[in-house]
Symmetry: C2
């Protein structure tokens, strides 16, 4: 079999390199939209001529999450959105009018979170910081 980047990525993550998984990973790497729901992925892939069952999309995205390839977010509205992990950790600002998502990273906030977790007797495993507001375009 061809030893593509995607095949490698999956194998390193401990996942068999199946066709649906390869397609989904390739799609996530190629799309310009960074935050997608399972349904978004399903529809966008269909439009691109790649048919993968919706249930499989859900399963694979969950596996990718466990493997650390993607991150799942729960922005307002309740349903999950997924984001390919590349580069460094960051948090999000979401526009409450148009839904636009921007990313940011703040060292001070990161540090203080660890401190706060410790102070409360917790071992921090993760965090979710989302700022909601009205973006420049929507004002």
């Amino acid at each position: 079999m061809k030893d593509t980047n995607e095949t490698n990525g999956l194998q390193k993550a401990g996942l068999k390199a199946t066709l649906p998984r390869l397609k989904i990973l390739k799609f996530l790497e190629s799309t310009t939209v960074r935050h997608l729901s399972a349904e978004d992925v399903y529809k966008a892939m269909l439009d691109g001529g790649e048919e993968v069952g919706l249930a499989t999309i859900y399963r694979v995205l969950t596996q990718f999450e466990s493997a650390g390839l993607v991150t799942r977010h729960h922005f307002e509205g309740g349903h999950s959105v997924f984001e390919l992990n590349e580069g460094k950790h960051h948090d999000h600002i979401v526009c409450v009018k148009c839904g636009k998502v921007e990313e940011f990273y703040d060292e001070t906030i990161e540090e203080r979170q660890h401190l706060i977790a410790e102070k409360n007797g917790f071992s921090m495993t993760d965090h979710a910081l989302t700022i909601y507001g009205v973006c420049a375009d929507c004002k």
Copy 2:
């Protein structure tokens, strides 16, 4: 009509003082559990002998949210939990093992969030910061 605290609270919030709303508000004020799903509220009230339809619980909690009486959170797991607004703003640490929720407030983080929103051209309207970790008891 009797001019109770609850009746007052509802009227100030622009809501008619109906029996279900009074019962729900009274329940939220009396329970020691601070973070509850709609279903939690439904069941706990049933146990307490107060029957209010689940659909009404959802409607009323949403109205309370709009009125600023409660806050809705989206912790991991997807479904909403509600918290009575009393005292000052705070964020949350959730134990990923047992689900315990602790509250904290950190001035530095609050300030930096506003700064970050501005830097990105947003007018911040709200934010959600949740730290996930393993609590002392679960370690």
